[in-house]
Amino acid sequence: MNEIPLTGRVIGFEESENYALQDAFGPDSPFRLLRCLDTGISFLVVNPYHAVEEYTFDVEDDAIRALSLTEGGIEHLAVLCIARREKETLYVNLRSPLLVNTEKGLFMQVILPNEGYPVSFPVAINT
């Protein structure tokens, strides 16, 4: 299992900052596990394109700076959304995605101004 160490904060869990992003579902899966090394809790995270066909937003300059993304390094920017599973439905948080600099091992959870992206976007599992 491939694992990337990450430093960053999840909203509501600000006391922790050491995480590992694991491809616990295999390298081809849209899902990853974001495991907090400080507390032992984990988050299921998913590529937003698993939930919606189109997902676009502006990345603020502050976020680019905070993630140490240089102009040439934008290819190392990954976007993942926290998801929770309830029975056969996956609820994906499209409103506040995680921006990840996979090269530098940094991430942050941003809040998008777009009211059209819900905090809990339902996706049926196995359809």
């Binding site: 909203i11 579902f25 984990s42 929770r84 101004p113």
Partner: protein
């Protein structure tokens, strides 16, 4: 908290090193206030409840213990 009274279309400025934030009172009707806000780059303007919603969603999404993780892992085997 600073409390100010403003008539509609009047505004207030919050001045800072990064630039001014301008809040305009657009309309007040039946207990609802419509505000217009202009802020420099670097500020995200959100409803305060939204932060609470995101915090709650994150807490509900947190998987504690290996059983919860195994359940999610197992559930996505296809």
């Amino acid at each position: 908290m600073l409390v100010l009274s403003r008539k509609t279309h009047q505004s207030i400025l919050i001045r800072g090193k990064g630039g001014d934030i301008r809040v305009v009172a657009l309309e007040a009707e039946k207990g609802r206030l419509r505000l217009g806000i202009e802020a420099p780059a670097g500020y995200t303007i959100i409803r305060e409840e939204l932060l609470g919603e995101i915090r709650d969603a994150n807490r509900q999404s947190a998987l504690e213990g290996t059983d919860a993780i195994r359940k999610v892992l197992g559930g996505n085997d296809e």
